[in-house]
Subunit: 434 residues, 2 copies
Amino acid sequence: MASSVCSPRHSLFLSSSTKSPLRDCPVRFPACNAFHSRRRLVSATRLKVSASSPAPAVDHSPSRAASRAPTVVEVDLGNRSYPIYIGSGLLDQPELLQRHIHGKRVIVVTNTTVAPLYLDKTVSALTDGNPNVSVESVILPDGEQFKNMENLMRIFDKSIESRLDRRCTFVALGGGVIGDMCGYAAASYLRGVNFIQIPTTVMAQVDSSVGGKTGINHPLGKNMIGAFYQPQCVLVDTDTLNTLPDRELASGLAEVIKYGLIRDAEFFEWQEKNMPSLLARDPSAFAYAIKRSCENKAEVVSLDEKESGLRATLNLGHTFGHAIETGVGYGQWLHGEAVAAGTVMAVDMSHHLGWIDDLLAQRVGNILKEAKLPNAPPKTMTVKMFKSIMAVDKKVADGRLRLILLKGPLGNCVFTGDYDKKALDETLNAFCKS
Amino acid sequence: MASSVCSPRHSLFLSSSTKSPLRDCPVRFPACNAFHSRRRLVSATRLKVSASSPAPAVDHSPSRAASRAPTVVEVDLGNRSYPIYIGSGLLDQPELLQRHIHGKRVIVVTNTTVAPLYLDKTVSALTDGNPNVSVESVILPDGEQFKNMENLMRIFDKSIESRLDRRCTFVALGGGVIGDMCGYAAASYLRGVNFIQIPTTVMAQVDSSVGGKTGINHPLGKNMIGAFYQPQCVLVDTDTLNTLPDRELASGLAEVIKYGLIRDAEFFEWQEKNMPSLLARDPSAFAYAIKRSCENKAEVVSLDEKESGLRATLNLGHTFGHAIETGVGYGQWLHGEAVAAGTVMAVDMSHHLGWIDDLLAQRVGNILKEAKLPNAPPKTMTVKMFKSIMAVDKKVADGRLRLILLKGPLGNCVFTGDYDKKALDETLNAFCKS
């Protein structure tokens, strides 16, 4: 790593070579595994369309039983540290959840898609062998367009009507929207109550459920209102991916790709080789991708919980991406789809600045294409829309828009407001009408 | 202090004898001072009715000049410690505020009553000699009934429309309602921005602006939604009391009286002797009462920021009081009026339990009467209303309502759920219809 910081005042330079040595070796999965997995899991995916369909048959083979012991990734935040449990069948292990419940009252916040699939299972995990615990639930509409004050109030209404007190526990069961809203509700209800994340999408499992960023959208900007509020634990039952639509799965892969680009070159190279296995929902490949993503996220969050610098790098592609989500209307594009297009734009700008070589720019384009993710913003987005929406981005400081850009070899990035504005204009003009 | 803890599991016993030795000697003010002060300040109070009236003439006498150096009370919270500045003419000292401004953008949140009186003065204090700073303002309607999600959103709307970024500063200019709402907005905007309190009522100066409790009301309960979020500083310009209506002034005295009852017997005795001076708005008497109240509050908050025990004692009379505010409708009774009636009820219950003697109960009744505060809840409040609303109080834990009750000699209290429920019923039946 020979790169240097371009401006000590405005930049933060990060390299994959500065990571702690906790990484596993990259794993390569044979193509035949991928093929079998694809057949079994595509079939399970169909369950999503009907809530009353039977659950997929449980595999009692030795390898399946062995997989039930969760992998644990710790988020180290002093007295607010917590574990991320990752594994298959974790919702069938009540003791995992129950050790993190405070008090006797629990409220599960979920949505109309996830509730028919996993709400009963979650309630069982919370109450089996523990009859003193009573569980309420709030089922919100599904989609980014519902991540707003109105639906947040529905969580408060239900909590107060149910007379939940300070010793209750809020459980988020769903994707990133549910996790963000339930987390902000937990942060604010009675000025803060106990909180658990059960993410059921790739997006939430590899990114949004970890690190304590919670919040809601404002009509003028994404995640403008919220709190840093850490959960007691994150429980990632990888079986929940069996019911995830392909489009949602690809959306989550945008964040997996991000970790490789900003700080983990080995992980990116592993993804380049194993993208077919991930798209085929190979459980082992996914378990590895989730674990390694969570390790990256946990390490960054431990070093910079409140995003004073380093943590901002997790937002590669997000400034452009949030502008797309706000511009086309929340819920039109999935978050990861917008982030993918945003990543292409950030990489294009890095290239315009001469900070990365042609090959790296091509590799980013290729992997996003292979993951079936967009490589450009929607045609309705204009240069003016991008500029107007990005002006209220949370990373603007004293009027200057700071961006995460790649710089140097694969796995290195900068968070900086010190760039030639012409490069930003060139990128915007290359991708959209003025 | 010979009292004992009635239940180690549920109680917390607190005594004035355990305080740190930072107290000043009590001060007695001659009656003639009180007389002159009353005349001068009652005249100034009239300014409130017209925003265009001239400001009261500034007194340039040596004693006035000397009073401009603020008293400073520190709230000790590690890296979130902050000063409370107390004194006359502090809004005329721009350097006090400006040292706590982050970035170049400020938003002042105030209300329709305070804005005509002090908004220009505050903007001058923020910008004089500092032309790089620009100030926005949000002027909300005045009253507890407006401390809700709708008005909170107005603060967010204005902040986002004004493109305020993470380096901005939110300034609360007003009473407790404005401080609580602006503080919660600052805690939540972009997941937390810089925050300053400029309290302009006795209630806010002696209590609500200090300690970081922020939030809004829900139709079903007071302060149910909020955050613990500490300001950068609290600036108490005692001159702002010149324009405070008598009813608001008395309301604030309920919290001053509270500090004496729960932990500071000497302060209570000083109040018994000096209540006429306080009602006459004697500046020296008020400066002392504010300082000593803030010292008590700062000490409690430093020991228990998130209200795991000790801090709850600051809520003497508040459980009954919040029920009154919710029951009769927010804004009908001032907060301190409800707290005063609630204090009488808590003292009555302590007396029923045999925890305090007749004389102490009488002294509480007498001082509240002298402060022109209510000594009973409104007639519309029934036993059933009290029970129903108190069931969702934040101090309910695992279904058990914990109360702050006096126990032992003056200056001692307990925070406990371990009491004979008959005493609660007796008190409710003594004060209201079933």
